[in-house]
Symmetry: C2
Subunit: 423 residues, 2 copies
């Protein structure tokens, strides 16, 4: 049959009972004749418990040692899952990142996978075992344990699937797929049975938390078919039914039956906006502003520079709200004086709302329908940023839910057949 | 200065505050110019928590996966200790068993150390770092994680000290040394400043829980000077004072100033006794009885076979009380009928009390003083077993405390200068 990779998140692995349910689901796939590699996260709460201990020890714990510590969570959950499978009569074996080995660079706490040796896994699969590989972790060239950062188990699973040439990578999670938008905000939100890789990239980077963005990048790079589906169904649900559930991330656009112009509405409240007014517009001013920000390890999202007027320009960008205080501090005390900005204004009560859809490539007027919809709701747009398949706006965050609901309706996502209202 | 190995037990590592105290103590040694390797146990309670999860998953969890699971406890505590040292300004690095590597055989859950590669540790020490090595664990020839069994961190520490040629191995624990007997039973029990290796072997195997017996074996094999001392003192206690505290296990008998004939009284309540009466005394009968017991993985302690009378003999042995039911079952249903025993009698209300002392080698009459003392207290002796430096008796367990107190007094261990009452 096929080689299938399963990934289970922390909630799915959150208790002994849940681990036994995961084992039942995996056993079902194994008994159907599939070769199964399972990548589990740590039991929910465990990573936070460990990092909490580290923070008590030191406000800035050593990064190498943090990875030594954090990697134990997945090692424990993986061995527990192996025990559960074995006790259910399924031969199984768990491997840590270094045992596989999953080779990474040496960027502790946010390492990137360089290669995965599949020999050990393959030999176990061929002898009939289920193989469990700890998510989230690897080993660098010096033999140090590394971790991939939050949500890294998704990336591990996709990377293992890529290395093994798996038929599909099933990401089991506590939602049953990717939705047109967050159902907690728009009850009419619908699950997409298929989403294109590009759209998923935008959805993940724009704040949809279903999949870690690096796992989507990995899936794209190696063209791994990824399916997001629920681990909360009956573990013995028939295989065919399970394979048809959730949301498939596809690379073949014609597979996408629901050819809506806009596929989904993404949003994020973790935004803050800063603007330097009346900056003398000299060559290199953007670098003078953003260089120190990057050096302080602050991620900048949207960047906007207006047309120069009388030799000065206004320069705005957005950062994660967690970095807002540090960013302001840098601007007021260092960057502002250095570039000769007239004034610095800021707002951390903003949010980002985005429409995403591959159909936007070939449809004009999509953005203008977005702007009209927001205007009809009396929502002022503060910044706009576009790419080929998405348009994002920054607005006052008190309007976020209103904007998402209005856009979801305007682009026809409420209706069952997802027909877009023609712009 | 010197290369010193420190080992800290689970209680010493039991909380963030305690880990920080361990770091202060280690920092003191490091700042005094010593090269320090630290072997920590898991935080107290952690190993039990993990094994509890495993037991919930399966009554008989897979041994390989148990080791994957259990080894995470020491990995976590080691990295936390490294963070604490680094945050106190002491360069430090933690290594798991496989990173060192500590090579073991493949007996999961009770592996034995085969070799320790000291290159990585030594290079870190030479660059001024404190090196932390996870206790309790290693790696087998197939790259599987193994653990050394309960108390294995003592063995790890002594083995690291042996491999590195350390000047001393300091076992920090929640008692301040090895006592003439358990102070909870005999308030007059005194700490020994020095104990011979042979005596420590007997004390450890006879039920004194201060050190795991395999760690003592290791110390003996490689002649590693081991000191048992308290981790509950002020971590900044002067170095000279600390080095003079606790109990030193020595290989040089003339170092032992307190040349008492009997050094200590050991005891154990976990005993059970079985006897096969009127067994036809044919060659090989001992093996016919004990072979099946060993095959059932039951450890036999004392063995006694009486003089044959009229072609039959009585055969007694003791086992751990936990194995009593299984042993009786074997005897009644398998061994007894096979060897033609007349009757099987048993008693699980017995205990073992032992006197230990290197002086016994050259003093006659030590055992008889023991027997006289017990007889004066009206305590009946059920079995006797002797070695060159210990005499053990099995008695009714209700007399245990009485016997220990009486012997402690009779052999002069109550008095400060430990003078033995001449037999």
């Amino acid at each position: 049959m096929s080689l299938i990779v399963h990934k289970y998140g922390g909630t799915s692995m959150g208790s002994v009972e849940r681990i036994q349910n995961v084992a039942r689901r995996v056993a079902k796939w194994h008994e159907a004749g599939h070769q199964v590699v399972v990548v589990p996260s740590a039991m929910s709460g465990e990573t936070n418990r460990l990092l909490g201990l580290a923070k008590e020890i030191s406000p800035q714990p050593d990064a190498r040692e943090l990875d030594m510590l954090a990697s134990t969570g997945e090692q424990a959950s993986s061995s527990l899952l192996a025990m559960a499978l074995i006790s259910q009569g399924v031969p199984a074996r768990s491997y840590t990142g270094w045992q596989v080995p999953v080779r990474t660079d040496s960027s502790f706490t946010k390492a990137r996978i360089k290669s995965i040796d599949d020999a050990r896994i393959r030999s176990d699969l061929e002898s009939g075992r289920v193989v469990i590989v700890t998510g989230f972790q690897g080993i660098d060239d010096d033999g140090n344990i590394t971790t991939l950062g939050r949500g890294g188990s998704d990336t591990s699973a996709v990377a293992v699937a890529a290395a093994m040439g798996a038929a599909e990578c099933l990401i089991f999670t506590d939602v049953d797929g990717v939705y047109t938008t967050d159902p907690r905000v728009v009850p009419e939100a619908r699950r997409m049975s298929v989403i294109s890789f590009e759209e998923m990239m935008e959805m993940a980077s724009l704040g949809s938390k279903v999949l870690q963005i690096r796992s989507v990048e990995f899936a794209g790079k190696y063209r791994v078919p990824v399916r997001v589906l629920s681990s909360l169904t009956d573990p013995l649900i028939p295989l065919e039914e399970e394979m048809a559930s959730g949301t498939l991330i596809t690379f073949e656009e014609d597979q996408k039956m629901e050819a809506a112009v806009v596929s989904g509405i993404a949003f994020s409240r973790d935004e803050a906006k800063v603007t330097l007014l009346a900056v003398p517009d000299t060559p290199g001013v953007a670098y003078s502003i953003l260089g120190p920000v990057a050096a302080a390890n602050i991620d900048v999202d949207m960047i906007l520079q207006n047309q120069s007027v009388q030799g000065t320009t206004d320069f705005s960008f957005t950062v994660n709200r967690n970095d807002f205080a540090r960013t302001l501090d840098l601007l007021n005390n260092q960057i502002g004086p250095a570039v000769g900005a007239g004034q610095i204004v800021s707002d951390d009560k903003v949010c980002k709302v985005s429409i995403v859809g591959i159909g936007m490539r070939s449809h004009v007027g999509v953005a203008s329908l977005m702007f009209r919809t927001l205007s009809e709701e009396g929502i002022n747009i503060q910044m706009i940023s576009t790419s080929e398949i998405k348009t994002s706006v920054i607005i006052n965050d008190k309007y976020m839910e209103l904007a998402v609901r209005a856009l979801h309706k305007a682009f026809g996502l409420d209706s069952e057949n997802g027909q877009v209202a023609k712009p």
